[in-house]
Amino acid sequence: MKRCNRCILPETYPGIKFDQKGICNVCQRTPDMLELTKAREGLKEKMDDLIIQKKDLSKYDCIVAYSGGKDSTYALIKLVKEYKLNCLAITIDNGFIAERAIENCKIITGTLGVDFMTFAPAKEFMFNMYKSSVENEVHNKPALKRASAVCNSCIGLINTFMIKTALEKNIPIIAGGYIGGQVPKDAAILHLNLDFQLTSKKQLLEKYEAFFGQKASHYFELSEEEINRYKFEELIVINPLLAYSVTEEEIKEEIKEYGWKMPENTGANSSNCLLNDFGIYAHYKKYNYNPYIAEIAEQVRYGLMTKETAIKKAETIPSLKEVSHLSDKIGVEQSEL
C-alpha cells in the first residue's frame, strides 16, 4: 500500500494525489509542524479570549458533549479546571456505550463537581439508523473521509441534540472533544450561524426521514421557534483539543489522575463505544481505508504520533468474526458486509 511519506495517508484515500517526493496533496496544503504548532497556539489565545467574553452570562457557561472517552474527558477537565467554567456535561447513550465509559462519566463529573445528564434515544431508532447507514448511501463521500457511516449518523444526532439543548437552556458555548482530522482545524472555534443550521438541517432531514424513518425528525430537526427563543446573538462551538498540542499518551496520563480508566472492549480507535469496531470494519470493507485515517494522519503531521504507531493503528482492522455479534444486534446481515 502506497502511503504519504509525511502523514501516511494511503493511496486508497479519496481524492489523494502524491507528488514526486511521495508527499500527498493534503500535506502540500498543510504548513510544516512548526507553523502548525504556532497556529495552534494562536487558536488557544483566541479561545481564551472568547471564553472570558462568554463566561457568567447564563446558569451554565458551557454544555459539553461528554462521551466518557479520553478526548472529551480531557476537554471537560480543561474547561472546568483551567477555564473555571460552569459546565453541564451531557452524555448521549447511543446504545453501545461501554459500561466502563458510563462509569468514567459518573466518576469524572463527580470529581469535577459538574452537573451531568444522560439522554438515551430509543434503541429501536438507533439500531435502525446504524443498519440503514451501513446498507445505504446516507452520507456523502467527503463526510466519510472523516468518520464511518455509523459514526456520521451518531455524530449528527449528538450535534443536533447539543444545539437544541444549548438553545433551550440559553447556554452560550457548546464544547466537544474532537481532535484534528475528525473536524477541520478551524472548528476549534465555530461561530455557529443558526440560520444556516436551520436551512442545512431542513435539507438533511428529508434524506434522514427517507433512510431512518419519520422519527428522524425527533432527533435531527431544528425549529425556528427554538432559535428565536435563544437569548444570545450567536452560539459558539469550541473543540478545545484542537488548541492543545498533546499526545494520546499524555491525555491518558492526565485523565487517569481524575479516576478515568480505559474500557477493555472498545477497540483500537475508541475509548467509549462498543460499536466503533463494526463501523471501522464496514467502512474498510466498502472503501478500503480506515475511517480514522484522517485523524491519525493529522496527529502525525502535528508530531503527536509517530509514523510507526500511526501505521499500526491504521492497519488494525477488526475481522468479521470480531464484529459479527454487533452486526447481528443491529440487524445487518453478514452477507451485506
Binding site: 479519496p14 456523502n140 467527503p142 463526510a143 450561524n193 436551512t199 442545512s200 435539507q203
Partner: protein, 86 residues
C-alpha cells in the same frame, strides 16, 4: 490566464480534491450543498480556504445568503470582494 479564470481554477481544484466533485458530471452552477457534496463541516473548510487563499474576511451575512452554493457563485463572490479590496 486572467484573474477570474485563475480564481476559478483554484476554487475548481479545491472543490474537486476536497469534496470529490466531478465536474465532468456536475455543472458549475449546481448547488453543492443541496446535492450533498458539502456538509456543515465542509462549509467551515470552504470558508477557511477562501479567506486564507484570497486574503478576505467573509461577513456573517454572506454565509446564509446562498453565495457559496455553487462554483459559479463562489467565483463571482470572490471576484467581487477582491475588486472591492483594490
Amino acid at each position: 490566464m486572467d484573474m477570474m479564470a485563475e480564481t476559478k481554477k483554484i476554487i475548481f481544484e479545491f472543490l474537486e480534491e476536497n469534496y470529490l466533485v466531478d465536474f465532468s458530471e456536475v455543472k458549475t452552477n449546481t448547488n453543492l450543498f443541496k446535492e450533498g457534496y458539502i456538509d456543515s463541516f465542509g462549509y467551515v473548510e470552504l470558508i477557511q480556504f477562501l479567506e486564507n487563499q484570497f486574503s478576505l474576511e467573509i461577513p456573517n451575512e454572506a454565509l446564509v445568503s446562498g453565495e457559496f452554493t455553487s462554483l459559479d457563485k463562489i467565483v463571482t463572490f470572490i471576484e467581487k470582494k477582491s475588486r472591492e479590496k483594490m
